[in-house]
Symmetry: C2
Subunit: 353 residues, 2 copies
């Protein structure tokens, strides 16, 4: 008896559709890139014939462009439709093993949802109280895990894991290790070099965050030849549209805008860290473009800010972050408005009771 309807029994990564008019502080888009950057990208000439035709199978030209951009061999790069597609494809490797994904919580919610959408078992290892990896626990739990997912810098804690811990895990585990570097550009760091020594390490990167191109849906995986070959076998051949590829090619010539935007963002992050602390909101230190903070009544504050036009991420379902909200760092005038609104909310009856 066929049971395709069983798919309705699985979990669900549901995002609020808040439109584009509120202050979107929930997706960690880069809110510091100037209009000129986008106008330059949009000025790229598009070839009508390349709208008509299918894109190059498995994107060899795009892979070369990205490889040059990060200074690795093109054979170690696999372009994906956003970083999420990289996570999905790498998780799919588990379908050919024992089918278990180990995730390091608290972390990005998507890997769990992706694994559940494929009927893959999910186990979790929780961070130590200092937000570093519990290496012993990860080693123990990954003996039968095909794939291990960690995000570095981590979302939502905003910190960097010890490189020596990650390298130890790479050398010690038989599992495929996904290192999600969605926020690495903000911190000016990367573990891409690990792929030279460990063929089980796959680094997932995206142009949606620091490069401010979430609407184009392009990311990439950097990994050993065996990982790239596996991705070639399980990917659809035309996974990225031509206009997105053409616009990304233009954007890669505009790195100075990205670098300047990060410098500006860091100033506001420091401002917010100070103001949150003054308000008694206990922010977590962050090397990314978001800041997570403890708050007395997270659901009420989340709702209160939502009504005032600020969309944050409510982390109250997450281990270690049960009383936390997360905000994308916005330009200074919005950051000030956010603080003003938070103060007002905290003074209101919601906070007194």
């Amino acid at each position: 008896m066929a049971k395709w309807r069983d798919v309705l029994g699985i979990g669900f990564y549901e995002e609020p559709n808040v439109g584009f008019n509120a202050y979107r502080l929930h997706f960690n888009e880069n809110l510091f890139l100037p209009r000129e950057y986008y106008e330059s990208i949009l000025s790229v000439l598009l070839d009508p014939d390349l709208i008509r035709y299918y894109t190059e199978p498995l994107n060899p030209t795009l892979n070369e462009l990205i490889a040059k951009h990060i200074n690795v061999d093109a054979g170690n790069v696999f372009a994906t439709a956003g970083g999420d597609e990289g996570i999905r494809l790498l998780t799919q490797f588990a379908l050919h093993g024992n089918r278990k994904l180990l995730i390091i919580e608290p972390t990005y919610s998507m890997p769990r949802a992706i694994a559940e959408s494929m009927g893959i078992r999910v186990e979790e290892s929780v961070l130590n109280p200092d937000y570093q990896l519990n290496v012993e626990d990860i080693v123990k739990k990954s003996h039968d895990a095909d794939v291990v997912y960690l995000c570095n810098p981590n979302n939502p804690t905003g910190n960097v894991f010890n490189k020596s811990d990650i390298e130890y895990l790479a050398s010690r585990l038989n599992s495929l290790i996904i290192i999600d570097e969605a926020y690495a550009d903000f911190a000016g760091l990367t573990l891409i070099n690990l792929i030279k020594h460990y063929d089980n390490v796959a680094v997932v990167r995206t142009f949606s965050k620091a490069w401010g191109l979430a609407g184009l849906r392009i990311g990439y995986v950097v990994g050993s030849e065996v990982i790239i070959e596996g991705l070639r076998r399980i990917s659809l051949p035309h996974n990225i549209p031509y206009p997105s590829i053409a616009m990304l090619s233009k954007a890669l010539q505009l790195r100075h805008y990205v670098e300047e935007s990060i410098r500006e963002m860091i100033k506001v992050r420091e401002y917010l860290y100070g103001r949150f602390s003054e308000l008694g909101l206990r922010p977590l230190g962050s090397v990314t473009n978001f800041i997570t903070f403890h708050v007395f009544k997270p659901n009420e504050v989340y709702e209160g800010l939502f009504k005032r036009g600020f969309i944050l991420r409510n982390l109250s379902g997450k281990v270690m972050c049960e009383d936390c909200l997360r905000a994308t760092i916005p330009p200074m005038h919005i950051a000030e408005e956010l603080i003003n609104n938070l103060e007002a909310l905290m003074k209101s009856h919601l906070m007194d009771t």
Copy 2:
């Protein structure tokens, strides 16, 4: 012991990367749409902020646009990154059942590759000699199939299956039935109405073929609420980039170009059918924008045409089509060149031996 490297043991849907300078007659793109159509599409104004931001989760606005376009409820539409993503997502339903896909051969190669990429078993039912469905065989083989895939009109045979057979299967089977209508626009037919009566029917459609927009990577699934809900649970939330969505929205206002291009294409298809027959190449009747024909030495003719700049699809690995090639219908002057080159090839030594 983790076995993620097992992914390298699976089959592989490898496409030739022939670039854009040869005559591309292997992907069934619409080669009849005029430059003005594309220039109008490319003239659409893009909003810089929508490059910066993530697209709407699960594309509610795009779903409504498509629903209006095909005159169904938005709740019955799920937009996908090309038709292939629709097939992939629907095949993924099998991961929550007994994990078997039944395909009706000869057909499009992608569903088998997708299923194998997920570790899903594939079984096949071969068409009757008249290229119609072997209904009895399908019923027998689908008792434990979670998903059944068929393409209508069929690729590469180019014909339409009897509607009564498909409707009988929909009523009789417990499986999810994927009806791939990639070529239906060329034939002016659709089975979308079946979704009102059978909640296990999912119709997969694309803008890559008749609408000439393969480079944008947009398709959609039409199905019952239960199917759409399942897709919402297993899809990544931002599966289609903003520039593609914006350009599609423009294209949907330009239907007259598409209709005219189909009329022109049909004239050339009739010309090619006649000329192939005169050359003794035994073409199959087609309601699509491709034509499949029997030829004495398919590999040699394929290679010979390739060297002369014509990329066809070599079907010699396919059941019932072992001695067949398939060509996208090109504009008349290219069709005439194709015939001239075929004649020359047949007269050459390759054909005499």
